[in-house]
């Protein structure tokens, strides 16, 4: 990996929040651009009449995968080039619509040194402007030790068990 220094395992404290990423207010342009980029043409993302009248939704929907990207961005920014966002899981529990401002957040729930690296567990999520959680999840990020080598890629979990 490169040398853009991200978080260092030794500095991490359980309970700490990592720097949030804020996006929005969301617009239909955000949603349609994303739908086009991934070729997801489900009508709930661009057809207001279909979304509201057929599916009974309050508006066209912000794509779940867009929200996932922002949360991966949150983790990648924090880990930098020297760390590695290894595992991420999300549940879709809330809907987001144009006008929403979304804040991706993460909080450290556990840490463990394994071999020459550190493994950090986080709870993550995305709040809307009302503070409602819509995309709770968990993540596992591998970080370098202070003065240690960056996390190599391809990331092979076996390096965590090496002496």
């Amino acid at each position: 990996m490169g040398d853009t220094q991200g978080a260092v395992f030794d500095d991490i404290e359980i309970g700490q929040y990592i720097p949030a990423v804020v996006k929005g207010p969301m617009t239909t342009a955000h949603i349609v651009r994303w739908s086009a980029a991934m070729e997801n043409w489900h009508r709930i993302h661009y057809d207001w009449k279909y979304a509201t009248e057929h599916d009974g939704l309050p508006d066209v929907m912000v794509n779940g995968s867009w929200k996932q990207h922002v949360m991966i961005q949150l983790l990648a920014d924090w880990a930098g080039d020297t760390g590695w966002a290894w595992k991420v899981a999300f549940q879709f529990r809330g809907m987001n619509v144009p006008g929403d401002t979304l804040t991706a957040w993460g909080r450290v729930t556990g840490k463990e040194q394994r071999g020459r690296f550190g493994v950090v567990d986080l709870e993550i999520g995305m709040l809307d402007q009302k503070g409602q959680e819509g995309t709770p999840g968990t993540a596992r990020v591998v970080l370098p030790l202070r003065g240690g080598p960056p996390v190599p890629y391809p990331f092979d979990p076996a390096i965590l068990d090496a002496a």
Binding site: M1, G2, D3, T4, K23, H30, R33, W34, A36, A37, M38, E39, N40, G64, S65, W66, Q68, H69, V70, I72, Q73, D81, W84, A85, W86, K87, V88, A89, F90, Q91, F92, Y153, P154, F155, D156
Partner: protein
């Protein structure tokens, strides 16, 4: 199919779900294209130059321009089978996604995408019968390196 729950027994629904377990379709190969990578990074406002500038990406240790991870969803929608003709229930809900990341996807890579149903079960809850299926897509590059694994959970209710 849109049979009501009374038309398909639990045993039949369970049998259908179990029949889904295993590989889905053939392996598919796809090229990681610069335009697709740039478009995806731009539309989420991710302006890290590793997604645009080959020199900047290489200076930071990557093999080339790096694809944002959710580009996996482009390949999900264009390269894999993702709809199931459930013989029960009325709506399919996207419930959860799980990712494992191993090797960055680089512009010019040729990915092999393999898809399989890895779990399928019938549940009964407060809202009645619920089918839960978990499909797994593995993305491997032309060097034989596993780039990512994406597991998607759908609920049929």
């Amino acid at each position: 199919m849109s049979d009501t729950m009374t038309e398909v027994s639990d045993a039949q629904a369970e049998a259908y779900l179990q029949s889904l377990i295993g590989p889905i379709g053939e392996e598919v190969q796809t090229l990681v294209e610069l335009g697709a990578v740039r478009r995806m990074a731009l539309c989420v406002g991710d302006h890290d130059p590793i997604h645009f500038d080959e020199a900047a990406a290489k200076a930071r240790g990557y093999r080339g321009v790096v694809a944002p991870w959710p580009l996996l969803w482009l390949y999900f929608f264009t390269c894999t089978i993702y709809e199931h003709d459930f013989p029960f229930g009325k709506a399919t809900v996207h419930g959860q996604d799980d990712y494992d990341f191993h090797e960055p996807m680089i512009v010019g890579d040729v990915l092999t995408v393999s898809t399989a149903m890895v779990d399928a079960k019938l549940k009964h809850g407060k809202v009645g019968r619920l089918g839960q299926v978990v499909s797994e897509r593995r993305f491997t590059n032309q060097r034989g390196e596993l780039c990512a694994v994406l597991r998607t959970t759908l609920f049929r209710r």
